[in-house]
C-alpha cells in the first residue's frame, strides 16, 4: 500500500562534511537528492551566505538547485537569539521582529514550515502569527526530547492553538523522543572516554526500565530549567547517579548517566492523537547500520503510527551521530543519510 508520506533531508545532517569543506551547500542538496529525498530542510544560520540577508543571487541559486535536483524546500530551522547581548534578554518586540525576520526568509525561499525551539516565549509566537499567516509559513515548535506530545508541556501550546484558532502554528516531533535504546554510538564513545562496562550496564538497564514502565512527562513551565529539573528527578536521575557513585563510577560514567536522560521513549500513539497539528517531522538518527536499521529508534514502529494517522507531511532525516564519532573517527554523513532514507522508504512503502 502507498502512503503520501514524503522524505526530506535536513542539511544539518551534513554538518561534518560542510565544516571540513568537503561539501558546499549545493553538494549537500545534491547528496540529499541522491539519497532519494524530495525535500530539503535548511538551517540558514549554518549554510546560507550573508545570513540574515537573502541576496538576489542566492535566491536565484537556491531555486535553481531545487529545479536541478528535483527537490523542494520543506522546513526552515530558526534560532531565536533572544540573549544576543550579555546584559539582558531582548524585549518582546525585538524578539518578534527577529522571529518575523526568519519567517520572511523562510517565505522568500519557499519553505512551508519553520522550526522554532522550545525556548521561544509564547508571546513571541503569538506576536508572529500574523506574519506567519501572511507568508503562509507554519511555525512548528520542535517536540525535542525530553519534551513530548500529550504532556503538560504540549497542553500549553494546544491551549494557544485552540484559543487563537491559528492555522499557522503546530508541532514538529523530533525522533529523539522515540528512542527505545541509548544510541550505540554514544555508548561506544563513553567507553572510549573511559566509562566502565559495569556502569554502562547500570545506565542502560535504567534506561530500559524507563522505557518499560514509561517516562514521566515534562510539565509546561516558562522556566525551562525548573521544568527540566523536575523531569529528570521524576525519571530517576538522582537514584541513577547514586548507583553510579556506589559502583565507583568515574567522570565518563557520570557523563554517560547524565546524557542518558537526553533520550526518551514516547508511545507512537502520541503522533496519531495529535496528527492534526503536526506539520513537519525531524527524523533524528544517530546510527543506521548496513541492514538499514536505526540502532536506537524503531523506525518501522514509529512510522507505522504516521501511516495510521494519515500523515501527508515530510519526514526529514536529521543525522546527529557525527559528534558521537568525530573525536576518533572519520564521519560519513552521506552514507548515514543514504541508509536512513532507504530505511524510511522501506518503512513507508512496506
Amino acid at each position: 500500500m502507498n502512503y503520501n508520506i514524503k522524505r526530506s533531508v535536513s542539511l544539518y545532517s551534513y554538518q561534518e562534511e560542510y565544516y571540513l569543506g568537503k561539501l558546499d551547500l549545493e553538494g549537500c542538496i545534491r547528496e540529499a537528492a541522491k539519497a532519494g529525498a524530495t525535500g530539503i530542510e535548511l538551517l540558514a544560520e549554518q549554510m546560507m551566505p550573508n545570513f540574515p540577508y537573502v541576496t538576489p543571487e542566492f535566491k536565484e541559486q537556491w531555486f535553481g538547485w531545487m529545479d536541478k535536483y528535483g527537490t523542494e524546500p520543506t522546513c526552515y530551522d530558526a534560532f531565536l537569539e533572544n540573549k544576543i547581548y550579555d546584559n539582558r534578554t531582548l524585549t518582546l518586540r525585538e524578539q518578534v521582529r527577529m522571529m518575523e525576520r526568519d519567517i520572511k526568509i523562510a517565505g522568500e525561499l519557499g519553505f512551508k514550515t519553520l522550526r522554532t525551539l522550545c525556548s521561544t516565549p509564547m508571546d513571541v509566537i503569538k506576536g508572529s502569527l500574523d506574519c506567519a499567516a501572511k507568508e503562509d509559513v507554519k511555525i512548528c515548535i520542535e517536540v525535542h526530547s525530553p519534551f513530548s506530545l500529550n504532556s503538560g508541556w504540549a497542553d500549553g501550546y494546544m491551549d494557544m492553538i485552540l484559543g487563537t484558532g491559528t492555522k499557522h502554528f503546530g508541532f514538529m516531533p523530533d525522533f529523539g523522543i522515540f528512542c527505545k535504546k541509548i544510541p550505540d554510538v554514544l555508548t561506544a564513545k563513553a567507553l572510549r572516554q573511559g566509562a566502565s562496562p559495569e556502569c554502562v550496564k547500570i545506565v542502560n538497564d535504567a534506561f530500559a526500565n524507563r522505557v518499560e514502565k514509561g517516562f514521566t512527562k515534562i510539565k509546561y513551565d516558562t522556566n525551562l530549567g525548573r521544568a527540566h529539573g523536575e523531569y529528570v528527578k521524576a525519571n530517576g536521575m538522582p537514584e541513577l547517579m547514586e548507583a553510579i557513585e556506589k559502583a565507583g563510577g568515574n567522570a565518563a560514567d557520570m557523563n554517560y548517566a547524565r546524557a542518558s536522560f537526553n533520550y526518551t521513549w514516547c508511545d507512537p500513539q502520541d503522533i496519531i492523537d495529535n496528527i492534526q497539528y503536526i506539520y513537519h517531522t525531524h527524523a533524528k538518527c544517530y546510527n543506521t547500520n548496513a541492514e538499514y536499521e536505526e540502532t536506537s529508534i524503531p523506525l518501522k514502529e514509529v512510522i507505522a503510527a504516521y501511516k495510521k494517522a494519515g500523515y501527508t507531511g515530510y519526514l526529514s532525516t536529521e543525522y546527529e551521530g557525527n559528534s558521537l564519532l568525530n573525536d576518533a573517527f572519520e564521519v560519513d554523513s552521506i552514507e548515514q543519510v543514504r541508509r536512513h532514507q532507504e530505511a524510511m522508504r522501506r518503512a513507508i512503502e512496506d
Binding site: Y19, L20, Q46, F51, F79, E81, G225
Partner: protein
C-alpha cells in the same frame, strides 16, 4: 564539537607590527554547528606550553575587523558573523611573540547560544611549530 579540526594547520605564526613581534596568532573555526553573532562569544582562552594568557591580551579578528573580547559583547553586525566552517584569527599579545620551534596549544571557545541552559565550552589541542 570538532576539536580535531578546529585549528588551521598553517595558520600559526608570530604577529608583527612595525617589524616587531607583538604576539602570536592562529586561525580557528567556531566550535558549534552553525554560524554565530560575535556578541555571544563569552570568552576565548589560549594556553600555550602550559601558559595561559590573560583575557586582556586576546584579540579576535574577522573579515578585516579586530576586537577585544570585551568589545565583542556588542558586535551584532551581520556582516561580521563567524560563519560555520570559516576561519577567524585569534591574536594573543605577547611581546616578542613565541620562540621559534615546537609548541602545544590548547584553546577553549566559550559561547552562549540564547536557548541553551548552559554556556558551551569547547576546547581543542594542537601541536604546531613557529618557523
Amino acid at each position: 564539537m570538532f576539536a580535531r579540526n578546529m585549528f588551521k594547520p598553517d595558520g600559526f605564526r608570530n604577529t608583527y607590527a612595525d617589524g616587531q613581534a607583538v604576539g602570536f596568532q592562529f586561525d580557528c573555526k567556531v566550535q558549534y554547528y552553525r554560524g554565530i553573532t560575535l556578541s555571544i562569544v563569552r570568552d576565548i582562552k589560549v594556553e600555550v606550553d602550559g601558559v595561559e594568557y590573560p583575557r586582556e591580551n586576546i584579540r579576535f579578528s574577522i573579515k578585516g575587523e579586530t576586537f577585544t573580547l570585551d568589545e565583542m559583547r556588542t558586535v551584532i553586525d551581520h556582516e561580521l558573523r563567524w560563519e560555520f566552517g570559516k576561519w577567524a584569527t585569534v591574536i594573543v599579545l605577547k611581546e616578542g611573540g613565541l620562540e621559534q620551534g615546537k609548541h602545544h596549544i590548547k584553546s577553549t571557545q566559550i559561547i552562549a547560544p540564547s536557548y541553551m541552559p548552559h554556556i558551551l565550552e569547547h576546547a581543542g589541542d594542537y601541536d604546531f611549530e613557529i618557523a
